[in-house]
Amino acid sequence: MIDAAVVIDGESQSRVALTDASIDLLHLLWGKYGPLMFHQSGGCCDGSSPMCYPAGDFITSDADVLLGRFDIAAPGDPGTPGTPGTPGTPGQPIDFWMSREQFAYWSHTHLTVDVVPGRGSGFSVEGPEGLRFLIRSRLMDDAQPFR
């Protein structure tokens, strides 16, 4: 498991994590497509799933919130040569984004990116592998269950 770095001002808990299966798949995809990013989708069909794109392919804006930043490089590994991540950032960083309006309804939950066999993923890069990223959720420690 990898926990994302906390990137939201004033917060102290990581909001997103990767399972080991996700990390393995991301290493494979990074080798094929270079630096990567996630944007969490909502809505119909293949929606409510994390979409993984070559970094920068999906244009984020003030309408989005950065929930966390992963580094999938092994400890001490400076990252994949020839495919640097964000300038000035060592390792293999992967940002996890969500639209701001969606975050308003999701913010009380912690998200773990997992992988399942599957097909159909919008333009997400894992689709051709016969695999699909999937979100598993739990309540954030400081979020009260609704009662």
Binding site: Y105, V116, R119
Partner: protein, 507 residues
Amino acid sequence: MTIYAAPGTPEALVTFKSRYEHWIGGEWVRPVKGQYFEDISPVTGKPFAEVARGTAEDIDAALDAAHKAAPAWGKTTGTERAAVLNKIADVIEANLELLAVAETWDNGKPIREPLNADLPLAADHFRYFASVIRAQEGEFTELDGDTVAYHYAEPLGVVGQIIPWNFPILMATWKLAPALAGGNTIVLKPAEQTPVSILVLIELIGDILPPGVLNIVNGFGLEAGKPLASSPRIRKIAFTGETTTGRLILQYASANLIPSTVELGGKSPNIFFEDVADKNDAFYDKAQEGFVLFAFNQGEVCTCPSRSLIQKPIYDTFLSDALDRTKKAIQGNPLDTATQVGAQASNDQLEKILSYIDIGKQEGARLLLGGERVDLGGDLTDGFYVAPTIFEGQNSMRIFQEEIFGPVVAVTSFDDYADAIAKANDTLYGLGAGVWSRNGNLAYRAGRDIKAGRVWINNYHAYPAGAAFGGYKSSGIGRENSKLALDHYQQTKNLLVSYSETALGFF
């Protein structure tokens, strides 16, 4: 009761090919890279055919064919195009059972749905747009005694369409019929979960359309959908799916300065006002069925009534009756006409639904029914079956806010009219909604106050060709169905004509 024979057995109505190619320029074309992927039937969880795995090279070939066909097709008369659309409708109708078996095997839906809904609606949809295009008239305005503005509807040219897997043939039809009627040529990318049933239809209708007017390239979103959506050689891109891909498609459309229509789903409220329970009569029975429609097509409908809002005075009794009604839903072999709930369309869809059931429980929602995967045994044991599931909770919970796209309804209560509307509109989406009341004035006001493109009043899940369908808010841009859809597939040409011999006098 009929149980249709499974494809691959001797009595089956449809015999799938072992391998399907792309349909480009009126013929079957091997993928340039020679790659194929397996199509898995959700009924059994097993692969049943190989399908061409398209890439940018195949999209280019399809665009070549579409561009070659566009000038002549764009010049055909509305009468000629209407005749083509009517022929397609006739073929769908004449092959209803065969296509229904193909659709059920590809998608997992209970066969009574394609027999009675998907396919009759598809045939009617082609006929509707055949009528619309024949009845379409240009407009002119006499600006002054010698100046006339003539307005003509002209085709856009070559358009790209990316369709979803929940109603493979009907959703293709929603996009194809207005595009063809408008005189456009098309490159269509079906969903990779359900690539085959549309190709079975093409085997039947392929020779009705001139070569290149309709081209179909299968494959994965990344490898085939993206090159299509981002191509500078299309004049429009239409998409049904989810929000992140929708934004990406709009981003590509902006780069090419082309229009895009996107339908991105919903979280539709189904509101039951207290007067529905004034009598235990046929209307009450209809309203009860309206509740259970969350399980229609296994909940894999963009307008699934997945939030039930019930007024407090009748909450306990109405919900109790609805639970009993839902328990009677028959889940089983999708090829059995008695089956009411079939299989989810894919394994990842199944997993996603189960993950939502999990977070629903964690958030403290009360599970009243279902909540688990179903093993139907025998050949169906590996199929993707989920029991119809009813949760009770609060509108702020994630199961109330996200499109689960499964047979899962989240139920809560409301106090009064204002509370009902506030809860109905407390969502990112605005695609569908249901209002149930014996009071016409109340139902009318609610229908107008709900921010959604389609509000069903005292009915739900009807999709007649003549009623506009599309989203408010984050549910998307544009309308399908109804003659409004034609506007999304035509340009306006204005000829501004002077019939005067007199110079302006400026120079």
